[in-house]
């Protein structure tokens, strides 16, 4: 059984981004970039399923500028077998990404698609659900446990108020939540070995998908800064202040 994992190159989760002075974009010229943390969890899960003999091959895909190669190499070093890079300098919306992933999933005849639940840059939380819709496949979003059988995949999901377990027919689409697993560290020898693995370049045009943005961004702005607060000496003083401010 083949699995497809989609990974995105995003601003590293520790970086606090700034908006350009004219509000035209976000300043990401010289900041550290890495694999979206939820996608690392997706790669890790696929590798574990392969190690357990449930999956025979892992194809990892990324869409975006040339530097996306870095995150694909990382995924290969983690244990993915092969990578596909759909190169484009356009900013892609989730629906466009889902349409291209669908075409790849069909050509590759994958039974399982693993994606992160959201990318930490646009925070959209849409692509996996859209991919499932386009494939007419079942979906399990926000997965915290995955059990793969021959005919179906049983997934425990994080929902508001607790957990829910669903069984999905294959092929299926899963989006990963934080608690699914702890991604492994990439060791240097694996990184070296990953350089020998296949990284196929595909042009976005060959998919025949209309990627014209449907949304136009008018501006970017930073949130209103909170007024600087004060430090109080002890609990009694805090209660006094909160009472005076009519908070309690």
């Amino acid at each position: 059984m083949k699995a497809l994992v989609a990974v995105k190159r995003v601003v590293d989760f520790n970086v606090k981004v700034r908006v350009k002075a004219d509000g035209s974009d976000v300043e990401i010229g010289n900041v550290k970039m890495s694999m979206n943390p939820f996608d690392e969890i997706a790669v890790e899960e696929a590798v574990r399923l392969k190690e357990a003999g449930k999956i025979s091959e892992i194809v990892v895909v990324s869409l975006g500028e040339k530097k996306c190669e870095d995150v694909l190499r990382t995924a290969l070093a983690m244990g993915a077998d092969r990578a596909i890079h759909v190169e484009t300098d356009e900013k892609l919306e989730p629906l466009a990404v889902a349409k291209i992933l669908k075409k790849i999933a069909e050509t590759e005849q994958v039974q399982l698609c693993l994606l992160g639940k959201q990318a930490i840059d646009d925070d959209a939380n849409q692509t996996a659900q859209m991919l499932a819709a386009l494939m007419n496949a079942p979906q399990a979003t926000f997965a915290s446990k995955v059990v793969l059988n021959e005919q179906e995949v049983v997934v425990t999901r994080e929902i508001d108020g607790g957990l829910e377990t669903l069984a999905l027919k294959l092929p299926a689409v899963i989006s990963t939540d934080l608690r699914l697993n702890e991604p492994r560290f990439v060791k240097l020898p694996n990184l070296m070995a990953a350089k020998k693995k296949t990284l196929e370049k595909r042009s976005i045009d060959e998919f025949g998908v209309d990627i014209t943005p449907r949304l136009s961004v008018q501006k970017y702005a930073e949130p209103k800064a909170r007024q600087a607060g004060i430090k109080v000496a002890n609990a009694a003083e805090l209660v006094e202040k909160l009472t005076a401010a009519k908070v309690i």
Binding site: P94, A128, G162, L168, E222, P223, I230, A235, A245
Partner: protein
């Protein structure tokens, strides 16, 4: 211009999230609410009393019982032609279903929006709430999810809107519900609470987490939240996580106990009206956004705070 809002419910009770979504949607036009489930006439009746709702669409079929995205999305698509906007609260339920609807309709979605400028222009947070982006779309149809903490809740009135039965779509049978395990709690729900008390890694263990925070939450009638570190260490259940990837809250009072204030956590609580931080590290980032801070050992400060609050209430 009319808007279709998906009603969230548990089979017995309409969820508060639906009231927030209706409140937001009124700015866009006439609001209709879709209630889907099996034997949920009572939910449709509740929904018909929400102020601002002019029609309730009632879809009753066994395959709608568990609110599976594969079953609900085609239903929403079957009703979509009459609406310019289709929306839901940005809860786990709304986030799960709406992108599937958007893709089936081949229309764009605007997630977790916090402000409606006009029918085509919206503001939403990106980068863990560090940036707000204004997006516009000329699409004929838009799918939206609303951030509940930034929109008020529509009230329930005495007038009942018309309830219309709509045809159920055929069962898809792509997925099957197995089980659901809900965290039992007598406390107010985290996203709706007026006061939230949250703990971080510094609590040290699940026992200490409960021993320190429960009395404080009790005296304030507060919900209990947690940082990701506290959830990962299993001090608190997953669904209590506050942050970019957990719950977004905006209570009147948020008390962060032993939480450093990483940007991912701050994304989930920075719109709280008043923020209090208790942390022994004077340089912790949480003090940058706290209105009131106490530098000290939480194991001493919190019990003192509980005593002082009890004294005030007595």
């Amino acid at each position: 211009m009319s808007v279709l809002i998906f009603a969230e419910h548990n089979g017995e009770q309409l969820h508060q999230n639906t009231l927030h979504a209706v409140y937001a949607a009124q700015k866009l036009g006439e609001v209709h609410v879709l209630v889907a489930g099996s034997n949920v006439q009572n939910i449709s009746e509740q929904a018909s009393k929400i102020k601002g709702v002019s029609k309730v669409l009632h879809a009753d079929a066994p395959h709608y019982t568990e609110c599976l995205a594969e079953e609900i999305a085609p239903l929403m698509v079957s009703l979509a032609e009459h609406y310019t906007h289709i929306g839901a609260a940005a809860s786990a339920v709304g986030k799960n279903i709406m992108p599937r609807v958007a893709a089936l309709l081949d229309c764009p979605q605007i997630s977790d929006l916090t402000e409606i400028l006009d029918n085509q222009t919206f503001i939403r947070p990106i980068y863990a709430g560090n940036v707000f982006t204004t997006v516009q779309s000329n699409a004929k149809k838009l799918v939206l999810t609303f951030r509940t903490s930034t929109f008020g809740a529509a009230e329930l009135g005495n007038q009942a809107a018309e309830i219309v039965s709509v045809a159920a779509t055929p069962a898809q049978n792509l997925s099957r519900f197995v089980s659901r395990e809900l965290t039992q709690s007598d406390r107010p729900e985290l996203t709706q609470a007026r006061v939230v008390v949250s703990g971080g890694r510094a609590l040290g263990s699940a026992e200490q987490f409960n021993a320190v925070l429960t009395p404080l939450a009790d005296v304030l009638g507060a919900a209990i939240g947690a940082s990701r570190a506290a959830v990962d260490a299993e001090y608190a259940p997953n669904d209590s996580q506050v942050g970019q990837t957990g719950k977004i809250v905006a209570p009147e009072l948020y008390i962060a106990v032993g939480i450093s204030g990483a940007i991912q956590h701050v994304a989930g609580m920075q719109d709280s009206k008043t923020i209090v931080a208790i942390n022994k590290d004077p340089d912790a980032q949480i003090f940058n956004i706290a209105d009131y801070g106490i530098v000290g050992d939480l194991f001493e400060v919190v019990p003192q705070l509980v005593d002082a609050l009890k004294l005030k209430q007595a």
